[in-house]
Symmetry: C2
Subunit: 370 residues, 2 copies
Amino acid sequence: MSDGMSKATLPGLAQIRDEIDRLDADIQALISARARCAQQVALVKQAEDPEATVFYRPEREAQVLQKVMARNEGPLHPEEMARLFREIMSACLALEHPLRIAFLGPNGTFTQTAALKHFGHSVQTVPLNTIDEVFREVEAGAVNYGVVPVENTTEGIVTHTADSFLTSSARIIGEVELRIHHHLLVAEGTRVESISRIYSHQQSLAQCRKWLDAHFPKAERVAVSSNAEAARRIKGEWHSAAIAGETAADMYGLVKRHECIEDNPSNTTRFLIIGTESVSPSGEDKTSIVVTMKRNQAGALHDILAPFAARGINLTRIESRPSKNDIWTYVFFIDFEGHQDDPRVREVMSELDPVVSDVKVLGSYPRAVL
Amino acid sequence: MSDGMSKATLPGLAQIRDEIDRLDADIQALISARARCAQQVALVKQAEDPEATVFYRPEREAQVLQKVMARNEGPLHPEEMARLFREIMSACLALEHPLRIAFLGPNGTFTQTAALKHFGHSVQTVPLNTIDEVFREVEAGAVNYGVVPVENTTEGIVTHTADSFLTSSARIIGEVELRIHHHLLVAEGTRVESISRIYSHQQSLAQCRKWLDAHFPKAERVAVSSNAEAARRIKGEWHSAAIAGETAADMYGLVKRHECIEDNPSNTTRFLIIGTESVSPSGEDKTSIVVTMKRNQAGALHDILAPFAARGINLTRIESRPSKNDIWTYVFFIDFEGHQDDPRVREVMSELDPVVSDVKVLGSYPRAVL
């Protein structure tokens, strides 16, 4: 606040609060009008299909949130504003039929956080014990959608999720990204200047290397099996620190001495939303496919990648896995930018067809907005 | 939907969506204006007190939510609309200084749910291991507020929370109520017609008596130590069911055969928000006091209750606990309607003073809105 701003130039509290009350009444009237529109959408869709009960359109929600973020002028952060609109859409949608969302439990995990980030809080979340169960409940129609973790920028792909797609008819209808932060944790009472050893998983140490070079150039860095293990170790050590996340700090009652020390602040875990229907283009889409190679195919990777390169289609991920049916063949999970209805993507798919043993589209879906 | 409503009388989807887009732009502009007002409030308060960093006013938030619910005309449920405003206020408040809220952990418990219900999602929640720690962190100023469970319509008062108030300087600044539902749980594969035995805590059995009479008149009802214990028992029994909540169903992987079977749908758990400042009247307030009796005081309860009765002040709770200092004296925890600044309440307090050994106001705070 500027020193030149005196109390006299500011409006009184009562005056500002009256203004807030007027704004609230207007906001409420508009949200109610929006809810009535959502009811009309449901009526239109039921006129088309009298059996319809679910009116969630991933591509439409993504477009709304993109617009919200693009036109945001502050003071709220665009992501915070988008979060509020996510909740408004969630409430409007639940008027018709609250969505049931299965996720890899238990309650309180990152996957539940991802589910609520994607669908808002006006849904029922159903924790399940295994990734397989999430796929099964979605296929059986016992829930509307499922949420499963798929890859972490630190740890790579969650292999179990990838494998489930090989045998399931569930499709990908969306993705969610959660940012994961690293903190420097110490036991209560530890003095920063006494820290001579820092424990963490090797990849976390690598991810915080520059920060460590700048702040703890002389401390010994010790790689252990996981960040949680690092946190556990320092519980009783007053000359040590650990690099780990929020959960580990809570679990072992440690103090966060420095927060968010990762060199690359975009360290994320990615989750997939699975369902049974396909999604129309939103304008900002990704497509996931799984390609099974022909046996002993020479130059396999080149054959797959050439059609994408020729059309300037960006691959966002490629990962190979042994096939479940034939130990000598490999499957490739490939994510790329674009929707399966795009002409360029259709061309790529038709070119892949003759050179591979099989290609399956797991889904086209809006790119994560937040 | 009426059969008479034909597709032709409905507006087209594109038309409704354009309308929604216009509404969203207006909603966003108003929320941004509201956020700017919140920034002004902060400036005004900092002009009064340059050290001020926290601008949360429980009584003001309660008033806003009361207005929202009173003027709500649907189609959204008033509680759902209030929830959206809670999130909007939470986001605006976090612009200045995100609140840190300690709660009785771990993550994923009802107490965390209560904290987020009360403060919205734009706060940092800090899980602590014990109720004592929550009190301590609040007193030390390490967090802005704390959330602790205090009573359950089924199980009565959480004695540990009550006792903590006896020795703490923390005050009550708010309350939250969460509705708790009972479900009929069975192991996967159990056929409803084969259920011959139903386990639960005695109070839960009592709370679902009418439903059980109607649906399972012949099944044996077995009272066990807790609902979680009931859920654990039936894990491997195909002729049994348990009455328990969501959490127990998740924990033991049971199926909810019937949901919300409690006869009285207002079964709630109550939580208190503790802080260090006192709260101004909101117009719909409660006050909590703890009264220590004089030793061997005859007609003690009558002496306490008479001043309230004389002024028509409603008691919402009264609970006696042995004093920590003297095993032969009792303390009474009393909640009643009204604020300690109300003249009637002041009169009651001055009348209590000579007849009891000690009376301590734990706080006056807005009644739970949602």
